[in-house]
């Protein structure tokens, strides 16, 4: 038993010795090769090998540098491209800014004109029987025209115009307190606007008389909100 144990221990020491020897051999080999590169005069074959290795190292280095250069140029090109594209988009966007401002004003005019006829300053309310939609009280409008100074800047428009379209009258006859039964044009503000306008159909109602009796008379008209062109 003791013999067996001793044999195993000896075997283990032998293995250790062999491995130490191999490591030592490896180290000497490495030292030899390094020495041969630096100190000894190289043989033709060896020198060829060394030159090959060095050229390989050099080519790899230059290739890497080239790749880095390529990437740098590529990054610069991509950045430049996006900067130019951004400038182009900004130019396109800003060139349409004035147009979009006009479009916005037109849209506002459209929204205003659709609700203008039903606003308290214009709407018929219950003055002509039942409550009506898109009905404008002519008497209210005439009074509004007379007192328009109090409404300065209220609707943020250049002018509001009401034009009777049926029954048709020849030419433009401006309405005032003396003729508003036989006229066809009411300009809330007295200025003539050269711009664009949005209009909608309304029913223009007033009290009229026939054979001494009063009745409700509604005619067809269009109401326009106009804006000055900027």
């Amino acid at each position: 038993m003791i013999k067996i144990v001793l044999k195993i221990v000896n075997y283990g020491e032998k293995i250790k010795m062999i491995s130490r020897k191999k490591k030592g051999q490896m180290k000497t080999k490495k030292l030899k090769t390094s020495k041969s590169k630096i100190l000894t005069v190289p043989e033709i074959s060896k020198s060829k090998k060394i030159s090959k290795i060095s050229s390989f190292h050099l080519s790899r280095k230059s290739k890497g540098q080239m790749k880095i250069q390529q990437m740098a140029f590529m990054l610069m090109a991509v950045t430049l491209f996006f900067v130019l594209a951004g400038i182009f988009i900004l130019i396109v966007k800003f060139s349409g800014l004035k147009e979009s401002a006009s479009e916005l004003e037109e849209r506002n005019a459209m929204l205003l004109v659709t609700k203008l006829a039903n606003s308290p300053e214009f709407a018929c309310g219950s003055a002509f029987g039942s409550t009506r939609i898109n009905c404008v009280d002519l008497d209210k409008v005439m009074m509004l025209k007379e007192n328009i100074a109090k409404y300065k800047g209220f609707w943020s428009v250049s002018n509001i115009e009401i034009r009777k379209i049926y029954p048709k009258l020849e030419g433009d006859i401006n309405c005032n307190l003396g003729n508003y039964n036989e006229c066809n044009l009411i300009r809330i503000y007295d200025t003539l606007v050269t711009g664009y306008d949005m209009s909608t159909f309304i029913s223009l109602c007033r009290k009229d008389s026939f054979e001494g009796e009063t009745y409700d008379k509604c005619e067809l008209a269009i109401i326009s909100a106009s804006y000055e062109e900027k």
């Binding site: 049926y166 048709k168 209009s199 159909f201 029913s203 109602c205 009745y215 409700d216 509604c218 067809l220």
Partner: protein, 161 residues
């Protein structure tokens, strides 16, 4: 070794070209979207809606024993086959008045309007059918329904531009 490097260069070139093409396509699509503006409508929906609302309130020269009838009341009178106080038929007055109103409101000569069509139905049967100009693919229409004592009226107006 040379063939391999050549191939690699070719692959890189193809990749670069692909990237350029993709970016160019994206830019073109983006520009297409940003530059294309929605075309301005010649006729807006609210114009057609308001037109029906407005003409229904128009006071005609046809009167019964109480008052001058509005278009709305005249439509009911026409569907019942009634006449005005001055013996004119309600339907005839309705047709004359509406013809004048539509002609003055939707002028084919001045506006970018190509044509229009007005239909008035009472309980599904045509009371009035009026059309003028050309029927195009661009149109705006509106329908108005109302009823009185079991009589259902449907008004349909379409403007073509």
């Amino acid at each position: 070794m040379k063939v391999k490097s050549n191939k690699k260069a070719q692959e890189e070139m193809v990749g670069f070209a692909l990237i350029i093409i993709i970016v160019a396509v994206i830019i073109i699509i983006f520009l297409g979207f940003s530059l294309s503006k929605s075309p301005k409508e010649n006729v807006e929906s609210y114009e057609v809606d308001s037109f029906i609302q407005a003409f229904l309130q128009y006071t005609t020269d046809c009167s019964d024993n109480i008052e001058f009838l509005s278009i709305q009341k005249l439509i009911f009178a026409c569907s019942r086959g009634e006449s005005c106080k001055d013996e004119r038929g309600a339907c005839s007055v309705l047709e004359t008045t509406l013809n004048g109103i539509v002609k003055e409101s939707w002028k084919i000569e001045n506006r970018p309007i190509e044509g229009y069509k007005l239909t008035i139905k009472s309980n599904g049967a045509d009371v009035l059918n009026m059309d003028r100009g050309n029927v195009t693919k661009n149109y705006k229409g509106s329908v108005q329904d109302f009823s009185r004592s079991g009589n259902s009226i449907e008004i349909l107006f379409t403007a073509y531009y």
